[in-house]
Amino acid sequence: MSDFKEAKPVVNESGIEIQTVYGPDDVERTGGTTMVGRPGEYPFTRGIHPLMYRKQPWTMRQYTGFGNAADTNQRFHYLIQNGQTGLNVAFDLPTQCGLDSDDPLAEGEVGRVGMAVDTLHDFEVAFDGVDLEKITVSLTINGAAPQLIAMYLAMAEKRGYDVKRLRGTAQNDILKEFIGRGTWIYPVGPSIRLVGDTIEYCAHHAPKYSPVSVCGYHIRESGADPAQEMAYAFCIARAYADEVVRRGLPIDEFAGRLSFNFNIFGNLFEQVAKFRAGRGLWASIMRDEYHATKPGSMWMRMIAGGGGGGLTLEQPEVNIVRGAYYALISALSGAQTMALCCYDEAYTIPSEYAQRISLRTMQLLIEEMGLTETVDPLGGSWYVETLTNQMRERMRAIIAETDANGGIVQQVASGEIQAGVSAQAYKMARAIENGGFRKVGVNCYRQEGEQYAEVELHPYRDDDARAQIASLDAVRGQRDAAAVSRALSALKSAASRGENVMPAMMDAVKAYASVGEITQELVEVYGRYQEPVRF
C-alpha cells in the first residue's frame, strides 16, 4: 500500500485516523467480524429486526408545536395529511420548566418555542381527532415529563384507548438536560428518581409505552464528538436502568421500552459506523452487564436525524440538501424513526412549507431510492466494518473512562462533562472560524453580504398567551378545587415518603391540577437544581 503513504493524514471527529483504502486485513486487525452477525439476531449490529424496512419503513416524526393546543392540533393534522406517521411534540419553555402560563417567569415565553400546556384540557385539545393507535406520539419533555406522561395516559384513557396497549414515547432524559438543553427543575438525585418512577409505573400500567428516550443528540449539539455522543448516552441509560433495577424490577421487565435519540451531522461513514457500533455495544451491555435475556431488552431502538448542529444560517436553502443526506444516513443506519431539522430552523419555527419539504425528503428515500429494500446495505464494506469496530472500541473506552472517573451521574452533577464538551465546542467554533473544519457557505463558498437570508419568520402573538392564561383560568374555575388540593397533598406525601409518585400524579392530572401546581409540590420536597457554572 506504499502508493498511498503520501496522502495527507485524515482523522475523523471521533479521533480515528482514516485510511485511503481498506481491505479484509483492516477488518481482521480491528476485531474481525465477530460482532457483525445477522439482522434481528444478537448483537444486532446490522439491525434490530430481520426484515427491517421491508416490514415497515421508519416512522416519520417531525418536531412540531407552537402557540396553544388548538394551533398545534391544526399543524398535526396538516402533517398527518401529508403522510407523516408519528407526532413529535414541542412544548414551550414554561411548560418544559414546570411553570404555568400565568407565572411571572413565563411572561413573553408562553407558546413561543412550542405548545403551551397547563392542564389535561390542553392535551385533550392538542390530540383531538388524532387516532392514537395509528399515530404514535412522542413528547419532547424532560423536567416536567412525569406530569405530561400522566396527562398523555389520562387523555388516552378518557378517549377510550386501552392504556395497556398504548404506544408512544416521552423524551424524559433528564441527565442530558444538565449537559445541554437546560430544562431541568429538581436536583440531580430526585430527577433520576422521577425517571425511575415513570419507567417503573409504565412497566406495570402502560407496558407498550416508551417512557424514556435517552438522548445523545443534545450532548452532540453541546460539543461532544460522535463516539462521545453515543458513549455518554449509554452511560446515562445505564444510570436509569440501575435506578430501576435497584427497586427490584427485573431488567427484562423494562429494558425493552428504553429508546434512544441520536444526532446526524458530519462525516457520513462515521455516522453509519457509529450507529452500527452502538447497536452491538448496547446489546452486549444489556446481555453481559445486566444479564438481560429477551432480545427486545438488547435492542438499541432509536430516532435518528435532526442534525441541527450541522445546518447553517448562511444559504439556508442548502440545508435542504444537508437534510437529505442526513435522512440517507439515517436510513442506511437502520433507524426506527426519523425527524429532520428544517432548512429554515436556524431562523424560526419551521413553516408548513419547510416541514413538507422535510417529509418529502424522507418519503423520497422510501418511494424512489430503494432504501427500504435491503437491510444494512453498507454491511460488509471493509471500510464500514473496520470503522464500526473502531467506533465501538472508542465508545467502550469513553464508557470505561467515565466509570473510572466516578460515573456519569457524579460527573454531570459536578459539571465535569459539561466543561469537557463545552471546551470541544469552543475548539470546533474556532476551527470553523479559521477554516480548519470546512462548512460550505460558512468558511468556504460564501456569498458575501448575504449573512441573513429572506426567510418567512413564524409570528409570535401575545394574544395567544393571553388566551392561554384565560383558558387556564377557566379550567381552574370549573374543576373541583377540593379534589385538586387532595390530589396535590397526596402527591406531596408520596414524594416525601420516597414512594413512586406516578399513581398520585395520575390522580392529580385527572383532577386538572396544572403543570406548575404539581411542580411546586415536588419542589417543596426535592428542592431546585443549582447549576454548577463550569465551562
Binding site: L93, R112, R181, G182, T312, L313, A429, Q451, F535
Partner: protein
C-alpha cells in the same frame, strides 16, 4: 477606572432558554482575549442580571438569547441597568436575533448585536473598540 483591572464582562442567559452552547463558546473567546468573564448560568431574570452586573461593577453586559424573547427581555432590563448605575456601560447581545429586531435592540441601548454565526474575533474586536 483602575488601569490594572481587567475589563469585566457579565455574560447572561436571559429567560428560560437552555441553549448555552453559544454563550459558553463566546465566554471562552472573551476570556482568551484577556477579559474577565462572569457567566451567570441559565434562567436569569432582568432583575437578576442587573443585580449580578451591579455587584461585579461590569464594564460590559452581554446577553445570549436563542429562544426569541430577547426584545421583551431587553425592554425590561434597560431601566434596571440604568437604575443600577450601569447606563453608561457597554451592552451587547447575541444569538438568534432576527434582522428586523436589530434596530430595536440598538435603539434600546444594545450597541452591539451579534446574530448566530457572527465571528468570535469580531465580537472581541467590538468589545475592545467600544468599552470605555
Amino acid at each position: 477606572m483602575n488601569q490594572e483591572r481587567k475589563i469585566r464582562i457579565v455574560l447572561g442567559k436571559p429567560g428560560l432558554d437552555g441553549h448555552d452552547h453559544g454563550a459558553k463558546v463566546v465566554a471562552r473567546a472573551l476570556m482568551e482575549a484577556g477579559f474577565e468573564v462572569i457567566y451567570t448560568g441559565l434562567r436569569q431574570t432582568p432583575a437578576s442580571i442587573a443585580k449580578i452586573a451591579r455587584e461585579h461593577d461590569a464594564d460590559v453586559v452581554a446577553l445570549s438569547s436563542m429562544a426569541g424573547s430577547h426584545l421583551d427581555f431587553c425592554r425590561k432590563l434597560k431601566p434596571m441597568l440604568e437604575q443600577s448605575g450601569l447606563g453608561n456601560r457597554l451592552w451587547i447581545i447575541g444569538g438568534n436575533i432576527p434582522k428586523a429586531d436589530q434596530e430595536d435592540l440598538r435603539a434600546l441601548g444594545f450597541k452591539g448585536v451579534f446574530p448566530s454565526s457572527s465571528r468570535l474575533d469580531d465580537i472581541v474586536a467590538f468589545v475592545e473598540a467600544n468599552v470605555r
